[in-house]
Amino acid sequence: MSATIDLPGFADPARDAQRAFRAVLAAMAEPGSLRMAGDDLIAPAPLAPATAAVLLTLVDGDMSLAMDAATYPAHPWVIFHCGTTLTEPAKARFIVALDCPDLSTLPSGSDEAPEESSTLILQVRALGSGTPYCLSGPGLRSPMILRADGLPADFAAHWAANHALFPRGIDIILCAGATLVALPRSMTVENA
């Protein structure tokens, strides 16, 4: 535990967080596009550098965070560097996970405040290779193919139920190594 907590966060918090945020923003604006984040960060196991960078960039004491069992060994580092407290997924605004949770159990906001939904930071084995998914929606001039390794087999069906809630719904940031991809709720995702 102490070995994990001893790992540093961003070397230059203001500038490194800005670079990581712009990667997430570009990913959210162009869903399916691969962006780099956290490439110079030493992430605590089992978190990937991109996962750790997204947490440092977006989560703080104002936000509740849930970690699934697989990411739990990194919790001392996350609590120390983000200054956040852990809660259960059904109450969390941010969820970090290695195994994709049931999206329907996560807060999806209300009709009047759809922004009060959770953001799922989902670490997968690889992005850019693996199962192909066809993405279309705002941000994309034409449909594009996203390849991701490590999503559940029935992900497209689960996502369709999430997308049907629009404007409510969960937004996902997929992370693998130092790359990330965003799936805002506005996206249509189909098996390609």
């Binding site: 918090p13 203001a14 500038r15 967080a17 800005q18 670079r19 945020f21 712009r22 997430v24 923003l25 570009a26 959210m28 604006a29 162009e30 960039t57 977006l58 989560v59 703080d60 104002d62 936000m63 209300s110 009709d111 009047e112 405040a113 759809p114 922004e115 939904s117 953001t119 705002p138 941000g139 994309l140 001039r141 629009f166 404007p167 937004d171 805002p184 709720r185 506005s186």
Partner: protein, 296 residues
């Protein structure tokens, strides 16, 4: 700049604004409440736009700031200098060279491209505020996508005036879901928002709202089949550069009725004149009385 964090705002404030921006991009056209901070200039001078710009700006960005299309007005100059001092960011007046463009009430004439971000300063984010003063009610109307009130307003304009009497801040439907105020840009600029390659972010400081339109997103100006949306433009060519396609400002030149129509977008006008285009009342660049090359 000593004594201030990079880009003026503290990191916790930036994280709060960044979370709002991400949700805004995920829900195109929906207004996200945020904890607007005090900024060293008055409300109404771009405090919302400045906070959004401060949250996204990085050392490798190149910032352009325009006020009604002009790079050289007081508001544009002071905001550009604010970020040059607090974020040590490179600045430009060239639309094509900028990575981030903060704007008050115009979209540049030069088409924006992939990867650019345009930040609008918004005085009133609620498109229905003149029709329904209660925010509780308008939130409910947005939740239900109940925009009949706005259609009635447009219909009454047509019944009284024969046309829709809105020339700026013309309401748009974003992604066929949310009614959105495009900020007080002229209706002439509305078509530029449709399927724009650049990311569009909107910040309203006094009203404490952030909203966004992702790239390549449908943005339709409200209209009727028999009264289609018609962007208005003064029927003249720019007196200085001769452009027949740009939005024009009318400038009074004397007290005997003299007037001059010039491009509102100063960069567009200067670029055209530098390329040798001369309007009816212009002087070629480099000639006595002619324009000098714009300097930062």
């Amino acid at each position: 700049m000593k004594g201030y964090n990079f880009a003026y705002l503290d990191e916790q404030t930036k994280r709060m604004i960044r979370r709002a921006i991400l949700k805004a991009v995920a829900i195109p056209g929906h207004q996200i409440p945020f904890g607007s901070r005090e900024i060293p200039l008055p409300y109404g001078w771009g405090t919302g736009g400045i906070q959004v710009t401060a949250a996204i700006l990085g050392a490798d960005d190149r910032l352009k700031v325009i006020d009604q299309g002009a790079d050289d007005t007081t508001n544009a100059v002071s905001i550009r200098r604010f970020f040059a001092r607090t974020a040590d960011v490179a600045t430009t007046t060239k639309t094509a060279d900028a990575t981030v463009i903060q704007t008050r009430h115009r979209i540049p004439e030069t088409a924006l491209r992939d990867g650019q971000i345009i930040v609008y300063q918004v005085p009133q984010p609620e498109p229905m505020y003149r029709l329904e003063p209660s925010r509780v009610e308008t939130r409910r109307m947005h939740a239900l996508a109940d925009y009949g009130l706005m259609h009635v307003k447009l219909y009454e304009d047509i019944a009284r005036l024969g046309h829709i009497g809105i020339s700026y801040d013309y309401p748009v439907m974003v992604n066929a879901r949310y009614l959105m105020a495009p900020s007080p840009i002229p209706a002439f600029d509305n078509p530029k928002m449709h399927m724009m390659p650049a990311l569009q972010l909107f910040g309203a400081g006094r009203e404490k709202r952030i909203y966004a339109v992702p790239p390549y997103t449908e943005v339709r100006s409200l209209d009727f089949v028999d009264h289609p949306f018609h962007p208005a433009r003064a029927p003249h060519a720019c007196g200085l550069c001769g452009a027949g396609d740009s939005y024009l400002d009318e400038v009074l030149t004397d007290d005997r009725g003299g007037r001059l129509f010039v491009c509102s977008d100063t960069d567009y006008c200067e670029t055209r004149r530098a390329d040798g285009q001369v309007g009816a009342e212009g002087v070629p660049v480099g000639m006595p009385g002619g324009a000098v090359e714009a300097t930062q």
